[in-house]
């Protein structure tokens, strides 16, 4: 109860005046001179499904562990429903974690694992029984109550870990790459189940992954972390369609980076010219491969046209990735559904709005 006075300290309400559910305020973490997290600020709504996306070393897991209380922050504050969260020890935080390795206790069976959080809080035996049963029923693991963790499969462990966290009715559920140990098919199934479960329970989920397709498929909002900073955040469709930097453009799927010069509202990219709403000067754009189509089959409004030679193609089942050579220096990748033959010249087209200007300072790669 020592944190009593501190928890009275209220979060500064955001500009609209409403209290933010989970507010992360200028959180930093450094080991000596090395900054793992650099002034991260993030506001999360109640019931939101937010994904922290990033490659290893981006700081996404560190941020999750700071929220859970396993790491201390070097700077900043965290508020949950207006109360300081970062001052509480992990066992007094109303947030629970699903670990990458599941971390099921090997010396307890499934029932005891799920009952653990209730037992250490002194909940009565009868209530424990009914709540554990309900939690296990929700993840369809009721039949495995007496099994030990070593006797159930990875997907089943995953479900038990989920039930073990959810039975305590956390305000926020933290999930640290929980699906990374599963094989591809099971993974898709679990993504669907997780999403359904989250919508059903209305609990805030904070999900960490390095897999962009998983992040796009599952979240209400994706927060892309890069070198300890937030690179971009937004709804999946928006962040995919309108990357703000070349890093974001490439991390969220394949993208063509095109350089050009803007003059009088027209971007001259040498292979083609397109109308843009940008100030004069050099610019860099992202153009998704699937935005490009042969002119003959392009959708209406594909007003930017150029000619190019097909120099390579890679069949990917759902489509074919073709390399288009517009000139000696300029090659573009396009995803094309129609059959296309190599070495041919042709006319291609895309819509001007698919040419997304990127922030100018970006790391050039």
């Amino acid at each position: 109860m020592t944190a009593g006075t501190d928890s009275l300290e209220k979060a500064s309400a955001d500009s609209s005046g409403a209290e933010v559910f989970l507010q992360i305020e200028n959180v930093g973490k450094s080991f000596g001179a090395h900054h793992v997290l650099d002034s991260i600020s993030l506001s999360i709504e109640q019931g939101e499904f937010v994904t922290l996306l990033g490659e290893s070393g981006s700081g996404k897991t560190t941020l999750l562990r700071i929220i859970a209380g396993f790491e201390t922050l070097s700077a900043g504050r965290i508020f949950l429903e207006g109360n300081r969260l970062d001052l509480l020890p992990p066992y007094r935080r109303p947030v629970h974690t699903v670990f990458q390795s599941y971390a099921l206790f090997p010396h307890m069976n499934v029932f005891d694992n799920v009952a653990y959080g209730l037992r250490v809080r002194g909940v009565g035996a009868g209530e424990i029984k009914s709540r554990v049963h309900a939690a296990l029923a929700r993840v369809r693991m009721e039949a495995f109550m007496a099994h030990y963790p070593r006797h159930i499969s990875g997907g089943q462990k995953q479900r038990v870990a989920l039930a073990r966290a959810l039975v305590n009715e956390p305000k926020v559920l933290l999930l640290d790459e929980p699906l990374s140990a599963l094989d591809a098919n099971l993974r898709l199934e679990m993504q669907r189940e997780l999403k359904a479960l989250q919508q059903d329970l209305g609990i805030t989920f904070l999900f960490v992954t390095h897999d962009q397709s998983e992040a796009l498929a599952i979240s209400d909002r994706v927060v892309l972390l890069h070198q300890g900073r937030i690179e971009q955040s937004g709804e999946p469709r928006e962040i995919y369609a309108r990357p703000r930097t070349s890093y974001a453009a490439n991390f969220l799927g394949k993208s063509n980076l095109v350089r050009g010069v803007v003059r009088n509202g027209i971007a001259d990219c040498r292979a083609f010219s397109a109308p843009v709403n940008l100030p004069e000067g050099p610019a860099i754009f992202s153009l998704r491969p699937e935005a490009i189509a042969p002119a003959s089959s392009a959708s209406s409004g594909s007003d930017v046209r150029f000619t190019a030679q097909v120099v390579a193609e890679q069949f990917h089942g759902a489509g074919t990735l073709v390399t288009l050579r517009c000139s000696e220096e300029i090659e573009l990748t396009a995803r094309i559904n129609a059959a296309i033959s190599n070495e041919t010249w042709g006319e291609f087209a895309f819509r001007a709005e698919d040419l997304v200007p990127l922030a100018p300072e970006v790391h050039e790669s």
Binding site: G69, F70, E71, T72, P89, P90
Partner: protein, 273 residues
């Protein structure tokens, strides 16, 4: 439990535990320089006299020589027996393997007295005289168990694909042993040799029943302790202590990264195999 906070009480307790572990060793060393004999606080009149007495003590040094001979012989025998035994336990399956394992590891858990007297019965029944040879027999039997567990641990840590590659490239079993297995096991074997040597230098329980007219060092010390303590005992004990520590440190430098084979933890694990 959040990481770096060091609990004061636990740290204090750990300090006390180290105090307990090192108290006798410190007392021993300090009093080896005390002119007025063992005991008496505070120690007064520091002197090197007891070391002079010790260096002039012929029978003590004869005993040291005997112990070195016995220990060296025990190292050779226990590795010559322990290596094939560990190899068989690791690589072969054969009828009676479990009994084989239990028997060879038995001296680890059976009190030294029993190993000692049962070998004494064998020696007497065979009509042999007790001598340093029977002592070597006792040490080798008791310490083969140690050597086997240590070498077994080393073998099971080894990636077996090296041997398979060697065989694949046309080497015979003998060539693979000489050119691949032994070089790869060098660290483990050196660690085992050092452990067996030290344990043999210190062995009393088995030796007690198998000793002839010539004493090993511990038995020589033992017989003098029974007569009464003098700081000469502190002096020789101090020397043994520093010699042991120097041997460990030297061997650790020699065997880079071989810390596991120098800790008797495998021996402990062997108890319950």
């Amino acid at each position: 439990m959040s990481g770096s906070r060091r609990p004061v009480i636990l740290t204090f307790f750990a300090a006390c535990a180290y105090g307990f572990l090192y108290l006798p060793i410190v007392v021993l060393i300090v009093y080896s320089f005390n002119r007025d004999g063992v005991g008496g606080f505070p120690p007064r009149h520091l002197t090197l006299d007891w070391y002079r007495v010790l260096f002039a003590d012929g029978s003590m040094w004869t005993a040291v020589g005997n112990s070195v001979i016995v220990a060296a012989a025990s190292v050779v025998i226990s590795i010559l027996i322990g290596f094939p035994a560990a190899y068989a336990l690791d690589r072969y399956s054969f009828p009676g393997k479990d009994a084989f394992r239990r028997l060879i590891l038995l001296p680890l858990i059976v009190p030294g007295v029993i190993t000692g007297i049962s070998l004494l019965l064998l020696v007497v029944s065979g009509g042999f005289r007790l001598s340093l040879i029977t002592v070597v027999l006792g040490h080798a039997t008791a310490l083969t168990a140690v050597a086997t567990t240590e070498i077994f641990a080393g073998l099971s840590r080894l990636d077996r694909s090296y041997e398979e590659a060697s065989a694949d490239l046309g080497a015979s079993g003998w060539q693979t042993l000489r050119r691949i297995l032994l070089p790869l096991m060098r660290t483990s074997l050196l660690g085992t040799a050092l452990l067996v040597f030290t344990l043999s230098m210190d062995e009393i329980a088995v030796t007690f029943f198998l000793i002839g007219r010539e004493n090993t060092l511990p038995l020589e010390i033992w017989s003098r302790l029974r007569r009464g303590a003098t700081p000469e005992m502190n002096a020789i004990s101090t020397l043994i202590f520093f010699f042991s520590v120097a041997a460990i440190l030297a061997s650790q430098r020699l065997i880079a990264g071989g810390e596991t084979s120098l800790t008797p933890s495998a021996e402990v694990a062997g108890v319950t195999q």
